[in-house]
């Protein structure tokens, strides 16, 4: 899909950037001490800190990734919303107050509060850097992904631009400016997501059978007879050649304007044996779609699809015509249609939040799948419609990651349990989230700001379901990439709403990356240089070193964002959660609740949790397929998500090492 650069988006974005940098410069004048740089002097009001939690936490993965996943697959994206929010319960009930009481600037401070051990500082500092880097890469790549379609700049420009703005924000006023940027971003994100959802509900649902029409039902015999050069629905059939003859399911019809062809895919018609609504109460027919169906003879339906072919000379064709917007050229068209509403109505008009879901569940939606087709002149990616009952869209198990829960493979269920465990445990272990507890004055403020955070984040995650479903039925989705679902949904309503939502998506990246760079610079300057190497720096010098570290980490983030451009990196956020939950949470929880925890136990737990979860991920089928390009079946670990193994392993390691290294009675007595 080709996006026209949106100058309104540029203007709104520039206003955001100028505003945040101006704010940072103003706040920077009063932020010279370490307390100011790392912890905003502990003077951030709890309500502001609560919204800043939302600004820190709701990354591009939440906003763009979850909305896109719901838009393409339905309910499964909402599972992430639920898991991400549930993690805040751990943060509030278990971590918030002790974290504030124990630490001062960094996550390592809290772990090391009782022991003053360089080993703990080293392990926790490295763990902070590892988790933050995994989190940073998708944010930076997301910045490039956003800027290319919106402004027409190359990917690297977006990455560099975000990097420079964020480094400026962090270097000028550290945690003070970072907090206010995150507050601004959190407020705007929740507010305008709410506006967009109201627009979605007011529009309601509308049938669109024209954008991608269907032809039929046809007899399969008639189709076979006509496919070799006859006509279908009064339109000439292009005889299959150039490799299409090996894919008889696809039929090419000539276009009146002669530019390329219209591609149709023949789907066998299936009659639903369980009633008209397609709902089956007792399972399905084994085809994975949950609907009890049987073949209706040899009848087929032709549904229009789209194809994009990469030629040997690196040029592209869309449905047989050169890719572009000029005369004689074609581009992929936006998708996302409702093909049937209950009662065969054409539109519903305005709907309430519950009626929206119940109506959708009784409708039929055209989801889209894709497959690679080898042709004589190159490889075509064919995008085809998957008419799906709304009831199926609103149930778990449609996305490839979650499809296993409907199959017979027990490891797929374990993989699902492992992912949900990592999401639950990961939030309260993310260093860039934990350091926000130091920005308020006391435990009560930490508690109250977490409650505000839960309220705003929870509200946002409820909105994600409507944003995703709204995009799914908006007719504005990019069939090649669902990450732009939310901005494109906004464009379906108004160019200015599109500009604002796009600018907020940029600010989403700014807010989260600021927190990550700050956490990383603290780990380098405070934990590793100060705590491990023993560099005794004055407050001002430590701030200077931290700022240099922020520039260095920001530079590395920019490089990684450019290097990983072509990689599908959204799952790196999942890695960050798994590594954080395995490396950090066991040590933190045991330090708080098990008096016999020793410093050796903590060090071993952090290292074992970090190495085992990282090792597991690197040896998983997901990584084999997506990163190394190898056969996923060759992966040595049985499932991709490590948490269910590595989190308990980290706990057990801490207990065993602590018992082996417990001080003798005499030592304990002397140390009193």
């Amino acid at each position: 899909m080709i996006y026209d650069p949106s100058w309104s988006a540029v203007i709104v974005f520039l206003l955001f950037v100028i505003g945040t940098i101006g704010l940072s410069a103003r706040l920077g004048r009063s932020t010279k001490s370490t307390e100011g740089y790392f912890a905003a002097h502990g003077q951030i009001p709890w309500a502001v800190n609560g919204i800043a939690f939302a600004g820190d936490y709701l990354s591009a993965a939440s906003f763009l990734g979850i909305c896109g996943m719901i838009a393409s697959y339905g309910y499964d994206g909402f599972l992430y919303s639920i898991g991400y929010l549930a993690g805040w319960v751990v943060a509030l009930f278990v971590i918030a107050e002790p974290m504030k009481a124990l630490g001062r600037f960094t996550f390592a401070d809290a772990l090391d509060a009782k022991f003053n051990s360089p080993g703990i500082k080293a392990a926790a500092g490295v763990s902070t850097l590892a988790v933050s880097m995994f989190y940073l890469i998708p944010q930076m790549v997301g910045a490039g992904v956003l800027i290319r379609p919106l402004l027409g700049f190359p990917h690297w420009v977006g990455v560099v631009m975000v990097g420079i703005v964020v480094i400026t924000i962090v270097v000028t006023a550290g945690m003070v400016s970072t907090t206010w940027v995150q507050f601004l971003k959190g407020s705007l994100l929740v507010l305008f997501s709410g506006v967009l959802v109201v627009a979605v509900l007011r529009r309601g649902l509308e049938v669109d059978r024209e954008s991608f029409p269907a032809i039929g039902p046809l007899s399969a015999d008639v189709l076979a007879a006509e496919s070799s050069g006859g006509s279908i629905a009064g339109r000439p059939v292009i005889p299959p050649d150039g490799g299409w003859e090996d894919h008889p399911r696809y039929v090419r019809l000539a276009r009146p304007d002669g530019v390329g062809f219209d591609l149709y895919r023949a789907d066998p018609i299936r009659e639903q044996a369980a009633g008209e609504d397609g709902a089956s109460e007792d399972g399905d027919d084994g085809d994975g779609d949950g609907v009890d169906e049987e073949d209706a003879g040899d009848m087929v339906m032709l549904r229009q699809g789209q194809s994009m072919t990469e030629l040997a000379n690196d040029e592209w064709l869309v449905d047989g015509a050169p890719f572009g917007q000029g005369e004689g050229e074609r581009q992929l068209r936006p998708v996302g249609q409702i093909t049937r509403l209950p009662g065969d109505r054409d539109s519903t008009g305005s709907l309430g939040p519950i009626a929206y879901l119940t109506t959708l569940s009784e409708s039929e939606v055209a989801l889209w799948g894709s497959e690679k087709v080898e042709l004589a002149d190159g490889t075509a990616t064919v995008y085809f419609q998957k008419p799906t009952p709304g009831s199926q869209v609103l149930r778990p198990g449609e996305h490839p990651v979650f499809a296993g829960i409907r199959g017979d493979d027990p490891t797929a269920r374990i993989n699902f349990l492992s992912l949900m465990l990592a999401l639950f445990c990961g939030t309260a272990s993310l260093p860039h989230i934990l350091i926000r507890y130091y920005t308020v004055k006391d435990g009560a403020a930490a508690r109250k700001s977490t409650i505000v955070g839960i309220a705003s984040i929870g509200f946002f995650y409820v909105l994600t379901l409507y944003l995703g479903l709204g995009a799914m039925t908006s007719g504005s989705m990019d069939v090649t990439n669902n990450n732009m679902a939310a901005p494109l949904l906004a464009r379906a309503f108004s160019p200015w709403l599109f500009a604002i939502i796009s600018a907020i998506a940029f600010t989403t990246v700014l807010g989260t990356v600021s927190g990550l760079i700050l956490a990383s610079s603290g780990a380098v300057a405070h934990d590793l240089l100060g705590g491990v190497l023993g560099l005794q720096l004055s407050g001002t010098s430590q701030v200077r070193v931290a700022k240099l570290a922020a520039v260095a980490v920001g530079g590395v983030a920019i490089m990684l964002g450019i290097v990983f451009e072509e990689l599908n990196v959204s799952y790196l956020v999942g890695w960050a959660f798994s590594v954080a939950a395995s490396a950090n949470l066991p040590a933190l929880v045991m330090l708080l609740f098990w008096p016999r925890t020793t410093k050796q136990g903590i060090i071993a737990s952090v290292i074992v949790g970090m190495v085992s979860s990282l090792g597991w991920i690197l040896l998983s089928a997901d990584t084999f397929a997506k990163v190394y390009g190898l056969d996923p079946d060759a992966a040595p670990v049985p499932f991709s998500q490590p948490g269910i193994v590595t989190i308990p392993l980290s706990f057990v390691t801490l207990v065993i090492v602590s018992m082996l290294t417990k001080p003798s009675n005499a030592t304990a007595e002397r140390s009193r």
């Binding site: 278990v94 002790p98 109460e281 149930r395 009560a444």
Partner: protein, 118 residues
């Protein structure tokens, strides 16, 4: 009526008692939510078909349980905030800085005590 000043030892004991109270409260709330969350995760993993059952106002269990988890998190968080006690003013044992410089000043929870550090 203003409570009489308490001694440093009594203040320390108060800090510890308040922290224990809050920690215990947190664990109870955590256990309740964990049970609710595990129910959701296990149904999805082992009985995904149940999630399609229409349970309330035409909505299926997946939607109702999912929204329920989000609402429950907020309600439990508010309840926890209401029942927690505020840690009285104390010297931070690690860094020696005031940990709760204005404890109770903007706190609405019950059980607060004013502490005279003199």
């Amino acid at each position: 009526m203003r409570e009489p000043p308490i001694t440093a030892d009594a203040a320390a004991a108060g800090v510890e008692a308040t922290r224990l109270h809050n920690a215990k409260l947190g664990m109870i709330h955590f256990a309740v939510y964990l049970a609710f969350y595990l129910g959701f995760v296990f149904i999805n993993a082992f009985r995904p078909g149940w999630m399609e059952t229409i349970v309330l106002a035409g909505l299926n269990l997946a939607i109702v349980y999912g929204f329920g988890l989000i609402v429950a998190a907020l309600l439990l968080a508010l309840l926890y905030g209401r029942l927690c006690r505020t840690v009285p003013v104390a010297r931070d044992p690690v860094f020696g800085v005031d940990e709760a410089g204005a404890a109770g000043a903007d706190d609405t929870t019950s059980g607060d005590r004013e502490v005279d550090r003199s």
